[in-house]
């Protein structure tokens, strides 16, 4: 009985996080500012929610949020199963797995900022790998140093935001039952 209630709560909060991530995913596409400096560079706002889900509920929920938000986001922006979708999907999946793994096995060793930076770097590398496969040319790794320069500050601030947000939501009993079922 009690267990059922916990699962219902978790479902509701997870849905909320997915809705938030999808919104950020779409809003982020409206912000072209960074792509004038480095083509394709992004703030990583959608990954912020993935990190919140990982910090609050563990790697499985982070993975679910990442997968569902990149599918839903591309449905709503009309890019499902196009190259844009594969780029964002591969980046979201691999970076959420990397961040979840780091959070599980290196919780004392890494702060949320470190986890977030690693997630941003994995995101960049996996996207460039997929892009290189699509255009059948590895020369696109030319962009990697430029993208990594942006990955450091954006990953750092995304990590701080995710940490503060998780702490705030947990302290206000919003993300309650986060410890009972894992």
């Amino acid at each position: 009985m009690k267990n059922k209630q916990i699962r219902a709560y978790k479902l509701v909060y997870l849905s909320f996080l997915i809705a938030l991530a999808t919104t950020l995913h779409i809003v982020e596409n409206f912000l072209p500012s960074l792509s004038f400096i480095v083509p394709g560079a992004k703030l990583g706002l959608a990954n912020l929610v993935t990190l919140v889900a990982i910090l609050a509920y563990g790697w499985k929920c982070g993975f679910i949020v990442a997968v569902v938000r990149s599918c839903l986001g591309s449905f709503l922006s009309g890019t499902f199963l196009t190259t844009t979708f594969f780029l964002s999907f591969s980046g979201a999946v691999l970076s959420s797995l990397a961040m979840g793994w780091l959070n599980k096995w290196g919780k004392e060793k890494f702060s949320p900022m470190g986890i977030s930076i690693v997630g941003a770097v994995v995101h960049n590398v996996s996207q460039l790998t997929v892009a290189g496969l699509i255009i059948q040319n590895g020369g696109i790794f030319f962009y990697l140093p430029y993208l990594l320069i942006f990955a450091l500050p954006t990953g750092y601030f995304t990590g701080i935001l995710a940490y503060l947000l998780t702490r705030y939501l947990t302290a206000n009993n919003f993300l309650k039952y986060n410890q009972q079922e894992k």
């Binding site: 072209p32 702060s111 900022m113 255009i135 030319f142 140093p145």
Partner: protein
């Protein structure tokens, strides 16, 4: 209040250091490439070099190539080149703007069109490796 946990750990700094090293090595690697006197621009469509452009002779021309999703319009300027329009959905290639130096490239992933300057060093690497 929040300061106690917003502090980088030893491993965080290690990761940041490694990434910074990769950035520096990357810039040095791409920075030492020699600059050809007369750069030749390669237009690569669907993984194959479709045509090469001599920027000094073709100034002001507009070239249309068909990629995976449709057209890509390339404009040649004074020793520089840009993508004017493309059938892709994200237009990252158009936003890249003008490129003029060897090593720079315009990549349109959805349409699979790449504009890059032919590089002396990468040709050598192809022979060696």
């Amino acid at each position: 209040m929040a300061s106690e946990a917003i502090r980088l750990t030893y491993y965080d700094k290690l990761v940041i250091g490694v990434i910074a090293l990769v950035i520096v090595i990357g810039f040095i690697y791409f920075g030492i490439m020699p600059t050809p006197q007369n750069p030749v621009l390669e237009v690569e469509v669907l993984g194959k070099v479709k045509q090469t452009l001599d920027l000094t002779k073709q100034e002001g021309e507009k070239i249309v190539v068909m990629g995976r999703q449709g057209y890509s319009i390339i404009e040649v300027g004074k020793n520089k080149v840009r993508m004017v329009d493309s059938a892709c959905e994200d237009k990252i290639c158009v936003h890249t703007g003008w490129i003029s130096k060897p090593g720079q490239q315009i990549v349109c992933i959805p349409n699979q069109v790449v504009l890059r300057f032919r590089n002396v060093r990468s040709d050598l690497d192809g022979i060696n490796g």
